[in-house]
């Protein structure tokens, strides 16, 4: 029994799929990464954040704790910081385009770890999301389709990638669920419950600096903020159900009987309501709070929840909007992949 369960578990992580969903995540995450770096460059703050105090920085340099930090190899002088940030920007652009994708994903990862390690006092939740997902992008076959890599491969070698492993995308899905669920569980204070009248959102929009405007307006729509508090907390906590719903809804053999619990749990596709609510949640955060690129990077991960055919439709739609020719669709999966 145990052996059979393990075999099925291994088989689950060995499944393969068409590469379109990876392409969409690569493009959305790459754009968010580029915007994050441009925001820092355009505001003229990169030396303040990363350089030595004698070279325009603010905080003294300590030997990085991360074994992956490039600042173990060279000091954060103004020149090194500029080179690192521009190299990161170039790698982010190339990643978005899907050029030397795996290599530039690795460059992005090292740069992101190095920079975030240097600025722990400045780091926002968004910076952590970028760092964690840069690692997952290294593992993922993001350049297999809708990329310059795929174009070169098709043109010069006549090869088309038919299938790629599903597990990196599943890790992305689970990571997103872990972010939301753990954030939701942290919301254990009284203002997130009946004990203090679900007042958390009202208090949050009254935080100077973080909230974009004085929060007096919220007093006039207080019941709405209470409803928002309740929905936000429970949407976050229960987000972990979504990847399990997606995994359980995939069935190789529709004729095989399934138990009533699974039948009930998989009756609805939870992605629709949860991702739509997430979109509303993050758009509200963008309007109400000054949190930098936090919401854009979170939304950029959402396509990891799309099935490859859905991602393909979105990509084709994007090509039509931008009036660029879309590449030929990915061929169907071979009969057996391992």
């Amino acid at each position: 029994m145990m052996v059979r369960c393990w075999q099925r578990y291994v088989a689950f992580w060995s499944e393969r799929e068409r590469p379109d969903a990876y392409a969409l995540v690569r493009i959305t995450f790459g754009i968010a990464l580029v915007l994050n770096l441009l925001e820092q460059l355009l505001s003229g703050d990169i030396l303040e954040f990363y350089a030595l105090p004698s070279e325009g920085g603010i905080f003294p340099f300590q030997r990085p704790g991360s074994p992956l930090s490039l600042f173990r190899l060279f000091a954060p002088t103004a020149l090194h910081v500029r080179v690192l940030v521009y190299a990161h920007l170039a790698a982010a652009v190339l990643f978005t385009l899907g050029c030397a994708t795996r290599l530039v994903a690795l460059v992005n990862f090292f740069c992101q770890v190095t920079l975030s390690e240097r600025m722990p006092l400045f780091a926002f939740g968004g910076d952590n999301v970028f760092r964690v997902y840069c690692f997952l992008m290294v593992l993922a076959p993001c350049g297999a389709a809708w990329s310059l890599d795929a174009w070169f491969r098709r043109r010069w070698q006549g090869k088309v990638t038919r299938s790629v492993p599903s597990w990196p995308r599943r890790l992305m899905m689970l990571q997103l669920a872990l972010i939301y669920t753990s954030t939701g569980l942290m919301k254990c204070g009284s203002s997130w419950s009946f004990m203090d009248g679900w007042s958390a959102l009202y208090l949050a929009v009254n935080l100077p600096g973080l909230a974009r405007w004085p929060g007096d307006w919220a007093a006039w729509v207080y019941p709405l903020t209470q409803g928002g508090t309740f929905v936000a907390k429970w949407w976050e906590i229960t987000f972990v159900l979504v990847p399990f719903n997606v995994f359980l809804r995939r069935r190789d053999d529709p004729a095989r009987p399934i138990g009533w619990v699974r039948r009930w749990f998989t009756r609805w596709d939870l992605r629709g309501p949860y991702l739509l609510l997430g979109l509303v949640f993050h758009l509200s955060l963008i309007v109400l709070f000054d949190l930098g690129l936090f919401s854009p990077v979170m939304l950029s991960i959402y396509p990891s929840y799309f099935h490859p055919e859905e991602a393909q439709r979105w990509l084709e739609q994007g090509c039509r909007l931008l009036r660029i020719p879309s590449p030929p669709p990915s061929p169907p999966l071979p009969a057996h992949t391992s």
Binding site: P60, T183, G189, L203, P208, G209
Partner: protein, 227 residues
């Protein structure tokens, strides 16, 4: 859509499934709710003390498991200490691996409770030849200084208010900014202080009273450049 693999599973597939499980376990242990501070000083912090008071008074009123809210609070804190010790040991165990994969993480956005008495940093400078400090950065809502400030500085202000980070380095930074703008009157000293305001109740705001009662909080930090 994905499809199952029919051929026999290779040893690499088993290894991969093992590593993925290990990675997910490590990340899950690391993201378990964990307070950044949990000591006696933290429990006496006005924001934390107010939160505990509200929580246990309300909880005791609705579920009177103990004789008083204080007793209930002590019991809950005992449980919390046990949980934190266990999670802390787990985090120590998985942290080296997560550091090598750049995957250390904690997600505490608006965790606990958003502050009822939020803090705003005030930067003052004493220019050369003056005995008084002058306001340099007014970071309340709607001011030009506030609008010009990069959002990441707010995180620094929050960290510094909790005693994390280097006040001297941050003061020296503001002195440098002042000197660039006022080369004829360089900064002799920089004073960093926090104004604590009270978020008014919604009923009070609707009744026309949105006063936030700003008060000076935490002893101001004064920095003077080395001669």
């Amino acid at each position: 859509m994905s499809e199952s693999s029919s051929p026999p599973l290779s040893w690499r597939a088993h290894l991969l499934a093992g590593w993925i499980t290990f990675h997910l376990v490590c990340v899950t242990i690391y993201v378990l709710p964990y307070p950044p501070l949990f000591d006696e000083a933290a429990l006496e912090h006005p924001e934390v003390a107010a939160e505990l008071k509200v929580t246990f008074e309300n909880l005791h009123q609705k579920i009177p498991l103990y004789d008083s809210p204080q007793e209930m609070q002590q019991a809950a804190l005992g449980l919390a200490r046990g949980y934190i010790d266990t999670v802390s040991r787990g985090r120590e165990w998985v942290e080296p691996y997560l550091r090598w994969t750049g995957s250390t993480q904690s997600w505490t956005m608006f965790g606990g409770t958003p502050p009822r008495y939020p803090l705003v940093l005030v930067v003052e400078v004493r220019p050369r030849g003056s005995k008084e400090f002058v306001l340099y950065q007014d970071l309340r809502w709607g001011t030009e200084d506030s609008a010009a400030m990069n959002f990441r500085h707010r995180k620094v202000h929050e960290n510094l208010s909790m005693g994390w980070g280097n006040m001297a380095a941050y003061s020296a930074y503001w002195a440098r900014r002042w000197n660039e703008q006022h080369p004829e009157r360089p900064a002799q000293a920089v004073r960093l202080s926090y104004i604590r305001s009270t978020t008014p109740l919604p009923e009070a705001v609707r009744a026309g009273n949105s006063e936030r009662h700003p008060t000076l909080d935490i002893l101001p930090y004064v920095w003077e450049p080395e001669r």
